[in-house]
């Protein structure tokens, strides 16, 4: 078949036919037709390039001067998912940068209005997928506050244990991706390795590696498994060894310093004005941590330090997260030590499903179980805002109830959403390569940004 075409084209008559074509476009098309018979994909010239996405009207018509506007992402590997950044460049210097989000928008807040309070945790846990337990915790705390339910002490300590393990996993993931973004590829492997250790422990406790749906309104889903203390200690040791390794690998590494020290500078005033929280705020010399400032769970009963540095650059944010892993290890060890006995969820049958054994012998237990899982529990009308310290900063849950079994409004204040706004300040006047370092050090989780 292909031989036939080729012969035909090489004949003089066919050549004449091509010369007869008038416009260059037609000529081009004919040329392409001849080329495509070698088993190659047909490639036609694209006549018009339409850029779609977020508008940037103030930049229209400014491209013809010295600067140009380029687009990074949403599929760029260093944009942590689907962040898209539009940058105005003067040669290789970034004049302006604008993050464009929404590529992972799945309407989770809308979905939250359709799910009962019992089901709600399954939804919110998928927002910040690198620290799912933090999302579950803030949602559960908001529901409990609307219900005026007191959670038993063991549930509080289990929650604290889990969110700290999750903080370790999240920061380890940051170490991995931060290294990878800046070319320290071996760092990626080491970071993932230790994160896997923590995830395996979380799987042992909750049954799932991610999206646990373990912290629920009223307590936690199940008690800790047998032998959890040893597993936790073992994990802590492995993570500590890993952190020491990262420290040796990167902290005094001159190449690492070249890429991060003095890059992505931000001041306390800027960070506060832009709504930043978490390691970004702490890297500017502002020791603000909700676990210390407005203690929730039992953070006032454990001993840990708030890590903060003075310079506000990418290197500081890296160091803060590295040392926060060790602080979390410290908290986790104290959780093992001080773990109280007792119930792991409230024994109010209107909120908590009965234990499986009771369902077989008690009619009421069966009814409660059925009611809870079909229509859930009703929450009295009201509104509340609960904030906790997630690995990325202040994660808040604004919950409005209208007296039914489903929230009237479920809003999650994602720290990444606000932290992303600091990106512009950090990359202004820097090189394009620094933009990668900055995005990485903001540590945005797009699932939480777009929700």
């Amino acid at each position: 078949m292909s031989d036939e075409t080729r012969t035909e084209i090489s004949t003089p008559s066919a050549d004449e036919e091509i010369r007869d074509l008038e416009t260059p476009a037609e000529l081009e098309e004919a040329r392409l037709e001849r080329q495509t018979d070698e088993g190659a994909q047909e490639l036609r010239p694209q006549r018009e390039v339409v850029l779609t996405g977020g508008p940037w009207p103030e930049l229209e018509g400014e491209g013809e001067g010295e600067t140009m506007i380029i687009n990074m992402g949403p599929q760029h590997p260093s944009t942590h998912g689907v962040l898209r950044v539009m940058m105005e460049l003067d040669a290789e210097t970034v004049v302006r940068a604008k993050p464009i989000v929404g590529y992972l928008h799945t309407g989770m807040e809308k979905t939250g209005e359709e799910l009962t309070y019992v089901q709600g945790a399954t939804n919110v846990t998928r927002m910040d997928y690198a620290s799912p337990l933090g999302n579950e915790l803030v949602f559960s705390m908001a529901v409990e506050r609307l219900l005026d339910v007191e959670v038993p002490p063991r549930a509080i300590w289990i929650r604290m244990l889990l969110v700290e393990l999750n903080r370790m996993a999240s920061h380890l993931l940051f170490q991995a991706t931060n290294g990878m973004d800046l070319g320290a590829l071996s760092m990626m492997i080491y970071g993932w390795r230790e994160r896997e250790v923590t995830l395996r422990l979380l799987e042992e406790i909750t049954g799932l590696r991610m999206n646990h749906n373990f912290i629920r309104p009223g307590g936690v889903a199940a008690d800790l498994p047998d032998g959890w203390e040893d597993a936790v200690h073992q994990t802590c040791e492995q993570v500590e060894a890993g952190v020491e390794e990262y420290d040796r690998l990167l902290t005094n590494n001159p190449i690492w310093h070249e890429r991060t020290v003095g890059v992505g500078l931000i001041t306390t005033e800027q960070a506060l004005a832009l709504g930043a929280s978490g390691p970004i705020l702490r890297s500017t010399g502002f020791p603000w941590d909700l676990r210390k400032a407005q203690p929730y769970l039992a953070y006032d009963e454990v001993d840990f330090d708030v890590i903060y540095t003075e310079n506000g650059d990418c290197f500081d944010r890296f160091r803060i997260r590295l040392h926060e892993i060790l602080e979390s290890v410290k908290i986790v060890r104290q959780c093992v030590e001080k773990m109280p006995t007792g119930d792991y969820r409230v024994q109010d049958r209107k909120v908590t499903p009965p234990p499986r054994e009771r369902i077989d012998e008690s009619m009421e237990a069966l009814i409660h179980h059925f009611k809870l899982f079909t229509e859930g529990f009703k929450v009295p009308p009201g509104e509340t805002y609960v904030a906790i310290e997630s690995p990325r900063g202040e994660i808040g849950c604004y919950l409005v109830s209208d007296g039914t079994g489903k929230p009237c409004r479920l809003h999650i204040r994602g720290p990444s959403f606000y932290n992303l706004q600091t990106m512009n300040v950090m990359v202004e006047g820097r090189l394009v390569a620094d933009a990668v370092a900055v995005i990485s050090s903001v540590d945005p989780i797009m699932g939480e940004v777009d929700r």
Binding site: T52, G53, G54, P55, E58, V101, G102, H105, G107, E109, K110, R145, L146, D148, L272, A273, L274, G275, A276, S277, F286, W288, A293, Q294, P381, G382, E383, T384, Y385, A387, E394, G396, Y398, V400, S401, D402, G403, T404, C408, R409, H411, R413, F417, Y418, L420, Q421, D450, R451
Partner: protein, 195 residues
């Protein structure tokens, strides 16, 4: 559910005039709220599950933010969001507040004083707009865009009020209660059809 039906059934117009003439609510037991009530007399204080909440008039929305920042050391506006109360089964009532369909909510945080306060203003359906806080707290930029995107509430004075999460050509405001999610038909490729 057709959009119009839902609106007719459940949406009551703004509260009666008589509601405002009810007895004065208790004086705020929160020092920030007390200062706000003194500065903006139309403000209603409410303690919601232990948290201080002030219901302010829409006209002083940005003034309140400026007051909190400049005189009350509120360093950060943590969050701006909105609520659509169109289909509420039972809405929490606060004496002295003439309720409208939308509520715009701002959470403020003072780092030096380590306290929070929440401000809520009522936004009617007829003219869903409120002053932007971006002049006072730059960080509310994204949040206000999100509220505009999902609720269709306009923020006057916002530097870049464009959709942020939804596609630019999206029609409607998804988090409004009368926005029907099934409006956009789901198309399946290669529908096998009946055998």
């Amino acid at each position: 559910m057709p959009d119009d039906e839902a609106r007719e059934d459940a949406h009551k117009p703004a509260g009666d005039a008589g509601e405002e003439e009810q007895e004065k609510p208790a004086p705020p037991d929160d020092e920030v709220a007390a200062a706000i009530v003194e500065q903006f007399p139309a403000t209603v204080f409410h303690r919601s599950h232990g948290q201080p909440v002030v219901y302010v008039d829409r006209s002083v929305w940005a003034d309140l933010a400026r007051f909190l920042r400049d005189e009350q050391q509120f360093t950060q506006c943590v969050d701006v969001t909105a609520v659509d109360h169109l289909l509420d089964a039972a809405r929490m009532t606060v004496p002295g507040v003439a309720q409208e369909r939308f509520e715009v909510v701002a959470n403020y945080l003072s780092h030096p004083r380590n306290r929070r306060v929440r401000a809520i203003c009522q936004v009617p359906e007829r003219e869903p707009d409120v002053a932007s806080l971006t002049d006072v707290y730059t960080g509310t930029n994204f949040a206000e865009r999100e509220v505009y995107d999902l609720f269709g509430i306009r923020f006057d004075g916002h530097p870049d009020l464009a959709r942020i999460l939804m596609p630019d050509d999206w029609a409607g405001y998804p988090l409004r209660k009368d926005d029907a999610p099934a409006r956009v038909p789901v198309t399946f490729k290669e529908d096998p059809g009946p055998r």
